[in-house]
Amino acid sequence: MAKMNLLQAINSALDIAMAKSEKVYSFGEDTGSFGGVFRATSGLTEKYGRHRNFNTPLVEQGILGFANGLASQGSYAIAEIQFGDYIFPAFDQIVNESAKFRYRSGNEFNVGGLTIRTPYGGGIAGGHYHSQSPEAYFAHTPGLKIVMPRNPYMAKGLLLSAIFDPNPVLFMEPKRLYRASTGEVPEEEYSLELGKADVVREGKDLTIVAWGAQVEMAEKAADKAAEDGIDCEIIDLVSLLPWDAETVAKSVMKTGRLVVTQEAPLTSGFASEVAATVQDKCFLYLESPIARVCGLDTPYPLCHEKEYFVDHLKVYEAIKASMTY
């Protein structure tokens, strides 16, 4: 065990994966010997050479096209997109190609070795184009896996699973926590199951569902609610695709109440999927409407970030409203 922040945990996972197989490649804009703008790939070029960890030209659609091709060749391709906000030029390669590669070929070919790493999320004074949480844009895409860790321990184990998972995985890293989140992390290899939600805290009165950096807000809100005597169960979805509806439904059948919170704007976010599914699975158990606590339906602003941000107070208010419905 060692104390690591989230970036170090990511770096450790990449290091272990690259040591484990010569067929693992890591690349992206500025990710070469410089180590990436957040330094997630630091030291990899020195250790594995400039053909294993390298810079790409500045073209996201090319990064993913290249990565799809490399993965289809049987390699493990780990592509970094510098910010989640800049993943959209690669949308076609991800949604029409990565996700459909195996199906359309009848399993003659696949890009299972592909992992896309990208930092996402707000709270860092980044404005429109350095703050987006675009996970829901991808969640409508059969064939893709989406994974979002909430802390260093999860990040390392999940990233190692993602890299060696035989399906393309979009791995979204909460950049607000890159340095802010620290914890004990095994130095050696370990992996955590994809597609499985994590019950972060058990409780009996109300279920909160969150993922990535937003789990922190759920925890803070639950702490505050505890002062009012409200006992919240917190579920970190961990994987958005495929997602673990069973674990959530089980919890809601117990608590009868659900608050889902996400950083992204409300409309057509992943919280809507969770709410839609749970109202179906738990109809007779629900004691109050499922609440979605989300960003406003605007682009991510700079100067009112504090107000726009989906903080623990907003989650707390939703908990109270649900309890007193």
């Binding site: 073209v59 096209g65 091709g69 289809s72 195996r102 009848g106 035989p166």
Partner: protein
């Protein structure tokens, strides 16, 4: 002449604008339209067996294309897309490769696939989306693919395979496999952003890839010159990326073969990616959904008919005494019989089992998808008359 130090550029003091005329790229031709060899041309080394295999494949593809266009008209298949007039480009280039080289096509390269050994039955199984189709009937006709033959499954989104070829070739280079990737695409697809990404990255990484642009004059109804691009076609772009580039007569199978053979050497031995632009013409409509009379003249088509790659090569082979008219007719008859027989057989093979609907989305179907399939099957059992093709086989079948 003074040189700028950092950039190593020549310095000039006269403000002169350069334009497309600064770089006109000529076209390599070995066989003239009449099938005779261009004066001064060096015919590539090519033994009789290989030459006849190329000819054979051209014949086969010509027949397959013509027959399947007819089959579509008869309503036997839903869609077809031919390579009429462009057989030399895909077959001549495929013949210059090793079997271990990866082929990534756009959709008009059935010639390359046939050359690799895809059987007439395999073609038909795909065209009829039957349960023997390697692609499990999931894509429209002509979206062939075969891992065994190193022929990447065709997909409809244009140009996406071009950066994929760069990535694939990178892996081949790292594996020291001694193989390369050839990537085909149309001059229309070369307008996509993915083309730009692919060629630039290939030049930067020096991967063993051959980018083969089939410039057939049209992208559906859009003529290339002036509406798809304003410059001298696609080839100068290779030069701009700092990539080895050559333009060939795409209807001259010997020129295509020679250029690709040399390109393969550059790619595999020197890790030099190469751009080949093959000039040709799409003789038929874009696909069976298209009628070209709306956007081009009969005269134009006729002018190109005179450049037919198959007739040209046949004349050459006959002159060379590797073939007689009679041989050619026999090959034609034999291929035609094979195509017709396979067609009849394939259309009787049933569709893949309904269980295949959820396979291959992921390596194994997630729980939710299994439930969705079960619901669907329950629904079909309830309304068997509404889903007649499936209902009868729903609880038997191979899975």
């Amino acid at each position: 002449m003074a040189k700028d130090k950092q950039h190593q550029l020549e310095i000039v003091t006269e403000p002169k604008f350069i334009d497309g005329s600064a770089l006109k790229i000529p076209m390599l031709q070995i066989l003239k339209e009449d099938g005779t060899v261009q004066k001064g041309a060096q015919v590539p080394e090519l033994d009789k067996e290989l030459a006849l295999k190329m000819f054979d494949t051209m014949q086969f593809i010509r027949i397959l294309d013509e027959r399947m266009i007819a089959a579509q008209r008869q309503g036997r298949i839903s869609f077809y897309l031919s390579s009429l007039g462009e057989e030399a480009a895909s077959i001549g280039s495929a013949a210059a490769l090793d079997d271990g080289d990866m082929i990534m096509g756009q959709y008009r390269e059935q010639g390359a696939l046939a050359y690799r050994g895809f059987t007439v039955e395999q073609f038909m199984d795909q065209l009829f989306s039957n349960e023997r189709d390697l692609g499990k009937g999931r894509q429209m006709p002509v979206h062939y693919g075969s891992a065994e033959l190193n022929f990447m499954t065709i997909a409809s989104p244009l140009a996406t395979q071009i950066p994929q070829a760069t990535g694939y070739a990178f892996g081949q280079k790292m594996d020291k496999s001694g193989t390369c990737t050839i990537c085909y695409f149309g001059e229309g697809a070369a307008s996509e952003g993915d083309f730009h990404a692919a060629l630039n990255m290939a030049a930067v990484y020096k991967v063993p890839a051959i980018f083969f642009c089939r410039n057939n004059g049209y992208a559906i109804s859009t003529p290339s010159q002036g509406e798809q691009y304003a410059g001298d076609g696609i080839a100068p772009r290779g030069v701009a990326y700092g990539m080895k580039t050559i333009r060939v007569d795409g209807n001259d199978i010997l020129a295509v073969y020679q250029a690709t053979q040399m390109a393969r050497k550059l790619a595999v031995e020197d890790n030099e990616p190469v751009l080949i632009e093959g000039m040709s013409y799409r003789m038929a409509g874009h696909s069976t959904s298209d009628d070209p009379t709306g956007y081009r003249t009969r005269d134009e088509e006729d002018a190109w008919r005179a450049k037919d790659p198959l007739a040209r090569f046949q004349t050459y082979l006959i002159k060379k005494k590797w073939l007689t008219e009679k041989d050619a007719e026999e090959i034609f008859a034999e291929k035609k019989a094979a195509v017709l027989a396979a067609l009849k057989k394939a259309e009787k093979v049933p569709a893949p089992h309904i269980d295949e609907l959820i396979n291959d989305v992921y390596d194994t179907p997630p729980q939710q998808l299994k439930e969705q399939l079960e619901q669907l099957k329950a629904h079909i059992r309830k309304y068997p008359e509404a889903y007649p093709k499936t209902a009868s086989r729903i609880d038997g079948g191979e899975k």
